[in-house]
Structure formats: C-alpha cells, structure tokens
Amino acid sequence: MAINWFKYSSPATFYPLAGRISPWFAGAAAILLVVGLYMSFFVAPTDYKQGEGYRIIFIHVPAAWMSMVIYLVMAGWAAAGMIWRTRLSSMMATALAPTGAMFTFLALWTGALWGKPMWGTWWVWDARLTSELILLFLYIGFMALESAIDDPRRAARASGLLALVGVVNIPIIYYSVQWWNTLHQGSSIKFDGGGVQSSMTDIMLWTLLIMALACWLYTIAVVLTRVRSIILERESGSVWVKEMLQEKK
C-alpha cells in the first residue's frame, strides 16, 4: 500500500514526472487567475471605507502569504536534504528561492502602493512591513550564497544550512521587530487590514482565497519547470540525461 516516495526523490524519475504534471498546474493557475481577476474587479463590491483602492488586497495578501510559506517550504526541503541526503531536496530549495523573493518584493511593492492612498505614506516602519523587508534580505542572502559557490554540491548544502539558520531566526526577528515597533508607537500607524478585515464580505474572502490558490498553483508550475532545468544542469554528465537528449533529437 505504501507508496515509495523515495522513488521520486531520484532526479532521473522526478524529471519526467515534473514535466508531465507542471502543465496541469500552469493551466489551473491560469484559469484561477482569470476567475480571480474577474471577481476582484467586477464581482467584489466597492469597499464602503476605502473605495476602490482596497482591490489591491487581492494581490497583496496572496503575495505576502506566498512569501512566507515559500520560505518555510524551502527550509523544509533544505532540512530534508540534510537528513536524507537526497539531491532533489536541495534542488527544490534552490528552485523555490527566486519565486519566493519575487513574491516578497511584490508584497512590499503592492503594500507601498496601497499604503500611499490609505495612510498617505509609501512606507511606515510597521512590524509587518519591516519583517517582510528582512525576509527579502534573507532570500537575497540565500540566492547570493547559492550562486557564489561554484561546486553545486557544496552550494546546495551551504545554502540549505543558511535557510535552516534563517528559519530558526524568523520568529525571533519577527517578535523583536514587533516589540521594537510598539516601543516606537508614536511614529507608527497601527493597521489591521485597514477596516477591510472586519467588513470583509464573503465574496471578498472567496476572491482572496481564489487568488491565493492561483498563486500557489503558479508557484508549483514555475518551480517544477525551474527544478527540471536545475536537474538537467547538475546531472548533465549522467547516462539518463544523455539518453533522453539523444531520443529527443
């Protein structure tokens, strides 16, 4: 009954599997994005407090969720790579980082564009904004270390360790930033979704969830494609890659 998951931890078996399933994720992501975008602009009602400006929430919140979840997943793969020494795990971590960094940047960007009309400022040193910025730094550090090491095996293990160190630090950083923020109460603006959270109608919530799911599927599709490239690069000397390339021709 038990499925042998380790079978798929071998790059040679995972490569074709990823190739088969990634178009499905991409297609589902595209459909959900279209539905989600339609809902966010035409179905979701205008917010009584924030007017049309609140519509940024439908990409801001999914992007912020993704930025955090991807880091956790990345650290999870890194840990798996450390424990079972599976090559695929570290490749997954490497493939996740750029997308995670992208969503972190997007969360900051859309947050700034939302903050300007709502609070009258592009940036406040709010606990959440600051943590998100630090998260972006962590992603950049991970990718910089990854690309600075020439030996792929060492690069994978070193960046994996860094991801784990980062994930231990994230709660400490988060709470320290929050605490720091309450100390400097005067300059900060407290916000809890800017009144949207409390008055969020069902339709808004559904739109938000659909957009979040679309981002998930998009991430899976992109990461699977990227991990295939990484597999090819790292395994380019192996027999199965050569055979596959010869068949292709």
Partner: protein
C-alpha cells in the same frame, strides 16, 4: 470604460500594483521557459558533438 480604469481616484495605485505583479509573473515564466530551452539546446549540442567524436 474610462471610469473602470480610473477606479475612483485610486487608478494609478491599483494598476501600478496589478501591472507590476503581472509583469513579474509573466517575466518569470518567460525567463524560466527560455532558460530551459537554451539549456536543452546546449546539452543536446554537446551530446551530438560527443557522438560524432566517437564515430
């Protein structure tokens, strides 16, 4: 139509957010796919070269 794009007074902010997000997501997709294609071409060329040498 113009009213829709104006989004009340927040048009610039909304389209700025959605536009940049779309740009990034489309851009990432294109980059990833192009990287895969060039990689396959390069590796394929190498395999062919090796095969010719062995002949």
């Amino acid at each position: 139509m113009a009213e829709f794009f104006a989004m009340g007074t927040h048009g610039a902010y909304i389209w700025g957010s959605y536009g940049v997000t779309a740009l990034f997501m489309v851009g990432e997709t294109i980059l990833v796919l192009r990287h895969k294609r060039t990689l396959l071409q390069r590796l394929g060329r190498m395999v062919r070269l090796n095969a010719e040498e062995q002949r």
